[in-house]
């Protein structure tokens, strides 16, 4: 497969303004050096807890703001410093589906106008007849009745609105869709419908997805690869199976073990992390996870670990943890820890 998107050492620091003159008194290190790539037709999931910077990464790729440092390369072209004029045609290729289907659709636009806007904007239809045809086709694609195009967003349920949101993203014929918690606000049964739709669309259209989510069970169900973020950094990247069978970062382990499993009486070894995520304004020195890590030792407090492939992991599996530089016998993460995930 070919690379569609390459992000390298992406940083986004938001200034904190305070006082009468609005001087900058510090920075929120929302994303602090993140690198990853997405192939054509691939799903990469970005997981982590609130405040870890996963949505900021998504917005940076969409160029909803300028980044502080790093590079975003789409299909060989660097887009992070491209002037707005030449970026415009490229915007078509990366679209987004937002979390809240109630606030992400304009309540004063009919469905057909919502869907027609990107088509007009990018000049994808020759005349109004073709425009109508395209809109009707989009409705078919997301399994909504064609005659619903004349209705307003408030007439639809949450799941149907999310379908409209997906149709709007598809209208521009993108190569990559950023799904920012696109199914998180939906009820269980509706969530399943949307997840299945996204998977079908990916198979039909060969879309690449950047699936930003905190729901690990959904991620496991629909992704190819996973990147785990903690406090502005990626701590582990791996193909799905490799990650869920044997996570190589203590944070990923804890995250997986914390997910409640719908199987009463299942006995699992649970790692309960102490305390809360530290503030991204003043992130801990060394490894950012050391304040909560059950295995932290001296080196973790001073030296920041880099992403590397542990000797015990398979191809494409990297983790940023000093434990992997220890001899295998002393490394608590060396063994397969599948039992953390699979109820005994």
């Amino acid at each position: 497969m070919t690379r569609l998107l390459e992000v390298s050492d992406l940083k986004k620091h938001f200034p904190i303004k305070a006082g009468f003159f609005g001087g900058t008194t510090g920075y929120v290190y929302a994303v602090d050096g993140v690198s990853f790539g997405i192939d054509k037709g691939e799903t990469l999931s970005l997981v982590g807890e609130s405040g870890c910077g996963k949505s900021t990464v998504g917005k940076a790729i969409l160029r909803l703001f300028d980044i502080t440092a790093g590079q975003v390369v789409l299909d060989g072209k660097r887009i992070d410093d491209m002037p707005a004029g030449s970026l415009r045609p490229l915007r078509r290729r990366v679209q987004v589906v937002f979390q809240d289907p109630f606030s992400s659709l304009n309540p004063r636009m009919k469905v057909k106008d919502i869907l027609a806007e990107p088509i007009r904007n990018f000049g994808l239809a020759k005349d109004s007849k073709e425009l109508d045809e395209r809109v009707a086709k989009l409705m078919d694609t997301v399994r909504l009745p064609r005659d619903a195009v004349n209705r307003w967003p408030h007439e639809f349920s949450g799941g149907q609105r999310q379908r409209i949101g997906i149709a709007r993203a598809l209208a521009a014929e993108p190569d990559l869709i950023v799904c920012d918690e696109a199914v998180s606000a939906l009820d269980v049964s509706v969530k399943a419908q949307i997840v299945n739709l996204l998977q079908d669309l990916q198979a039909e259209l060969g879309l690449a997805l950047l699936f930003i989510s905190h729901d690990l069970a959904i991620v496991e169900h629909m992704t190819h690869r996973v990147a785990v973020m903690y406090l502005g950094k990626i701590v582990e990247v791996a193909p799905k199976r490799s990650l869920f069978a044997a996570p190589k970062h203590p944070y990923t382990q804890a995250l997986l073990s914390a997910v409640p499993v719908p199987e009463p009486g299942a006995s699992r070894q649970r790692i309960i992390l102490k305390g809360d995520v530290p503030s991204p304004i003043n992130p801990p020195k060394g490894c950012r996870f050391h304040t909560r890590c059950p295995y932290a030792f001296d080196r973790c407090r001073v030296e920041e670990p880099k992403l590397a492939q542990p000797s015990t992991a398979g191809a494409g599996h990297v983790a940023a943890c000093h434990l992997h530089s220890l001899p295998e016998a002393e490394n608590p993460l060396a063994a397969a820890v599948g039992e953390l995930v699979v109820p005994a």
Partner: protein, 339 residues
């Protein structure tokens, strides 16, 4: 603190044919339409269902927090033998926060931002137990220690915005438990929290249950949470109870097609490790409007096994196995087919 009472005899809470309706411009909304259940002392009962199924309205009705009008609560809610619906407002206030207390979903919005944490925990103690300000603060520090907040003596003087989401939820739990309630209603207590924080709070609730012995009614949409903490489960759909069972049988052999659908539509962690990938089961369609009277089974429009009988006659709750009830005409047949 009191030990859980005996399981036999009178239940702690008995809800009988609860009907909470709201008058709206375009008709009556039957948010809860004839729900009955009971909670024994010291027991954890979960009420699960999707948005709009009436689970929160049920919990609010128990504490009579439904504004009347436009709401209207009918039926009977017996707490320790007393019908709460017949009490005066004054008597009801003696019960709220004292014998029955509640934890709300949003720890961000359910604490008062202009009062210190200590004042808010102390408020119930001063009201119900007549403690002085100093005694109340002392007790508040004890409660903060109980819910595992570090440096309680400092935190007690802090305001909600100085605490993280997980800590605020701990404070909510401290407030709810301050007067040693016999019944704790937890409405989506972990939904707004991150998974690692959710794990901390669930652990805390399990631990406190052993120590305090209060019965818990847990309202949630997360079947994972249910499996972890509940003993008995009530599944609600469109304002009605469709199934009730002990937690084990409910997850192993769900009898109602809705419960089966819910369980099937949930992806399970570890699914990729068992070989091939499967599609998630969908429940087609939408929840019916609660404004029209539904003559037949509420799930008939979405059920894969619907017949004319389902559309015309509402199925009664039947015992399909000991302690396992479901409201479905065909639930037993399903079971026979599966076997």
């Amino acid at each position: 603190m009191a030990l859980p009472g005996p399981r036999s005899g009178q239940p702690l809470l008995e809800v009988e044919n609860l009907q909470t309706h709201f008058r709206t411009k375009d008709g009556v909304n039957r948010a809860v339409d004839g729900v009955s259940f009971h909670v024994n002392a010291g027991e954890t009962v979960a009420i699960v269902g999707e948005s709009g199924c009436g689970k929160s309205v049920t919990s609010m009705s128990i504490l009579r927090l439904i504004p009347e009008p436009p709401g209207k609560i009918a039926g009977a809610i017996r707490f320790q033998g007393k019908d709460l619906l017949k009490l005066s407002d004054r008597e009801m206030r003696q019960i709220r926060g004292n014998e029955i207390s509640m934890i709300f979903q949003e720890p961000m919005t359910s604490l008062n931002p202009v009062l210190t944490v200590g004042r808010q925990i102390g408020e119930t103690l001063r009201l119900h137990q007549g403690l002085s300000a100093r005694e109340a603060e002392q007790k508040a520090i004890e409660m903060l220690t109980l819910v595992g907040i570090p440096e309680p003596a400092r935190r007690v003087r802090e305001y909600p915005h100085q605490l993280s989401g997980g800590m605020r939820q701990r404070v909510m739990i401290a407030i709810a438990l301050a007067c040693n309630p016999k019944l704790l209603i937890a409405d989506e207590p972990t939904t707004a929290l991150d998974v690692t924080i959710q794990a901390q709070i669930l652990e805390l609730m399990r631990d406190l249950k052993h120590r305090v012995g209060a019965a818990i009614v847990l309202i949630t949409h997360d079947l994972g949470v249910v499996a972890e903490v509940a003993e008995r489960v009530i599944v609600m759909y469109a304002g009605r109870k469709v199934e009730e069972a002990e937690v084990g049988p409910l997850f192993r052999t769900p009898r109602h097609p809705y419960t089966q659908g819910l369980l099937g539509s949930m992806p399970k962690l570890g699914s990729s490790l068992h070989g091939e990938e499967t599609r998630l089961a969908e429940i087609p369609g939408l929840v019916p409007s609660l404004k029209a009277k539904i003559p037949g089974c509420v799930f008939a429009t979405r059920c894969p096994h619907t017949t004319d009988l389902c559309r015309q006659v509402a199925p009664a709750l039947e015992e399909k196995a000991p302690g396992h009830v479901a409201a479905c005409h065909y639930a037993l047949k399903e079971e026979a087919l599966a076997a």
